[in-house]
């Protein structure tokens, strides 16, 4: 190592000191401002807006803002969204959570996916903050004040397995990415397949950065499965499929939601999959008119979560977490982005699931 001079040390320390003072002043000012607005209900959103999953975070934010655009037209309170980027890191999640709850004084939190939802749930229970996770990990809903909303694994897999049975498929192979979603889907699929006597001949589990599947594909195909269930996200989804086809295997494929995400839909021509129910045509049209983009299932989940919360909060004069929880029990169903949605007491709100098929390189509804 090279020893060098002490140049600029004091200047940098002065600048850092001034920045910390600036931050402190802004923080105090914001605190005062947030305490002065009694008719405003703030809802916090914790999601990644930068990094690998930024597109999904953005979809969640768009859906939330779209919900507020509709709700604020004739609601008792004016609802505001404060969205903070957690970069999908645990460290940032906890910091952002504390900012939203203790600084911005939000009345409820929406979080995205299990990494965020599982980190927020124990904190929300400790601080008594109503929390909606757009995720399918039921562990989140086990804690007080936490709810989950998404298309649930059991809904997907029971639908999928029923079609396999109907089509005479008795032996399947499963390819999963080693993350929470992949494992939740696999657990549910194993349970449903066992019920219907469908054999899972092989399970190929891989880490998210794996790109060469040729050796495991050959090994997997030795068991002669009639269908492969792909529980993987792009780009691994397309890479796996291309390698499978290059090796000469013409086996039918299916997935849960992910065929809808890929830009290379022609790889899955004729294959069916299960997906969360699409937003209604009116919603899609209205959303496109306002934001000039597609209204996705993720946006719809956020829309529905905010709508449910607003229905519960609008009934209250004194907004506390306990009162919101009590009021949520009285909201039995809503007319949400995907149509009528039933709200059970279990705190697990399952979005409806449907069949889709890839036809002429496009997704379309499969009537079953």
């Amino acid at each position: 190592m090279v020893q060098i001079t002490k140049k600029y040390k004091n200047t940098i320390l002065l600048v850092i000191g001034l920045m910390l003072i600036f931050g402190g002043v802004r923080l105090t000012k914001q605190q005062t401002k947030s305490d002065r607005q009694p008719n405003i209900v703030k809802i916090g959103l914790i999601a990644p807006f930068t990094g690998e999953f930024a597109d999904k975070g953005k979809e969640l934010k768009d859906g939330s803002l779209f919900a507020l655009h509709h709700i604020n037209k004739n609601s008792k309170y004016k609802y505001e969204l404060i969205a903070e980027d957690n970069r999908f890191l645990a460290r940032d999640t906890i910091t952002v959570y504390n900012k939203l709850v203790h600084q911005d004084k939000v009345s409820a939190i929406i979080s995205m996916w299990s990494t965020t939802g599982l980190a927020v749930a124990p904190l929300a229970q400790k601080d008594k903050i109503v929390h909606f996770a757009v995720d399918n990990s039921s562990k989140i809903a086990d804690l007080d004040y936490s709810h989950i909303i998404s298309a649930m694994p059991d809904t997907h897999t029971s639908l999928s397995v029923s079609k396999m049975k109907k089509d005479g498929v008795n032996n399947i192979a499963v390819v999963i990415q080693n993350d929470t979603w992949g494992n939740n889907m696999l657990n549910s699929l194993s349970k449903e397949a066992k019920k219907e006597n469908i054999k899972i001949s092989s399970i190929l589990r891989f880490n998210l950065n794996q790109r060469d599947f040729r050796i495991p594909i050959n090994k997997m195909m030795e068991d002669k499965p009639q269908m492969i269930v792909l529980v993987i996200d792009p780009p691994a989804l397309e890479i796996f499929t291309k390698q499978l086809r290059e090796l000469g295997y013409k086996i039918p494929l299916t997935s849960f939601e992910t065929f809808g995400y890929t830009q290379y839909k022609d790889l899955y021509e004729g294959d069916w999959y299960t997906d969360a129910k699409d937003p209604t045509d009116d919603m899609v049209k209205d959303f496109r008119h306002k934001y000039n983009k597609d209204f996705t299932a993720t946006s719809a989940h956020a829309y529905n979560a905010i709508l449910i919360l607003s229905k519960a909060i609008d009934k209250l004069d004194n907004i506390t977490a306990d009162n919101i929880e009590e009021s949520l029990k009285t909201v039995k169903s809503i007319e949400g982005a995907t149509g009528r949605l039933e709200i059970p007491d279990s705190k697990i709100i399952a979005e409806p699931t449907i069949f889709k098929v890839i036809k002429d390189g496009q997704t379309s509804l499969l009537k079953e």
Partner: protein, 288 residues
């Protein structure tokens, strides 16, 4: 106030991580990227022992330190044969191996789902469940680790480490071993890093393997580069800057549509400017 307390807790946890790393990088001159691995092992030791065996937090910290010291001993013995870029690559390999173990060893670590429901520490009936109490615990731990390291770097062993950093051959000529001090500094750093992992797991009450990847090792490395190599106060200052800077940027009042992206851009630019005008870090006297 809770928000500020949370930031101070993170300053303390990352301060411990940075001080531990500075022993290896700043004082011994070894480019280690293994910190995230020991951070993860410490966190998982606490999470597993507290949730599955209902063990007291403080015992889990000790066990975590022992496990990390053992891993550090084995890996350190291998690493002590390397220096420079090779040391960095092999130590980064350890982080990747530990991450993959945490991800795939489902029976023990619960795989990608992580471990949920980790408790806060208690000692003789006194609970650290409130954030202010937890902050006190973190500050006490940081202080203890700071003084322990201060004593170490000023000892004769510390001078040997600095000697290795400056000229390994000279240390050998002076009659000292080269490999043993390198390995011991690595083992010492590993066991202290484990303490930060235990505190983090207990504070967050949930952990999954995603936190303990190579990017976290690079983040800790950046802390000591920004704060200053071979300076313990610099490590703590680096932690304060790297944790608080993105938070200050949240209050700039940037347009909501692009706020997150702009914050990242400004954060990156500030670090580049800082490294340009002060490559040795703010309190550092050396540069790589």
């Amino acid at each position: 106030m809770e928000y500020i307390i949370n930031l101070f807790i993170l300053f303390a946890i990352y301060g411990i991580l940075a001080i531990s790393l500075n022993i290896v990088v700043g004082y011994t001159g070894l480019l280690s990227l293994a910190q995230a691995a020991f951070y993860g092992v410490g966190a998982y030791a606490t999470a597993i022992l507290m949730t599955k065996f209902d063990m007291n937090f403080f015992f889990t910290v000790i066990i975590g330190m022992i496990v990390c010291a053992l891993i550090g001993f084995i890996i350190g013995a291998i690493l002590s044969k390397f220096k420079g870029d090779y040391y960095a690559i092999v130590s980064a390999g350890l982080t990747i191996i530990i991450f993959n173990t945490l991800l795939n060893c489902e029976g023990l670590t619960n795989g990608p789902i992580g471990i949920f429901g980790i408790g806060r520490p208690t000692l003789f009936g006194f609970s650290f469940s409130s954030n202010i109490n937890f902050l006190i615990l973190c500050v006490l731990t940081l202080s203890a680790i700071y003084y322990l390291n201060k004593h170490l770097v000023n000892s004769s062993f510390g001078r040997v480490l600095k000697g290795i950093r400056e000229d390994e051959r000279l240390v050998r000529v002076m009659g000292h071993h080269r490999k043993t001090p390198k390995m011991l500094s690595f083992v010492f750093s590993a066991s202290l890093t484990s303490v930060a992992g235990s505190l983090f797991a207990s504070y967050l009450m949930f952990i999954d393997p995603m936190t303990f990847q190579l990017h976290e090792a690079i983040f800790i490395f950046t802390i000591i580069i920004v704060g200053g190599l071979a300076d313990l106060k610099g490590s703590m200052l680096g932690a304060v800057i790297m944790i608080s800077l993105p938070e200050i940027l949240r209050f700039l009042g940037l347009p909501q549509e692009t706020a997150a992206q702009l914050q990242q851009l400004i954060y990156g630019l500030l670090l580049v400017v800082l490294m340009y005008i002060r490559p040795q870090g703010i309190l550092g006297k050396y540069r790589m």
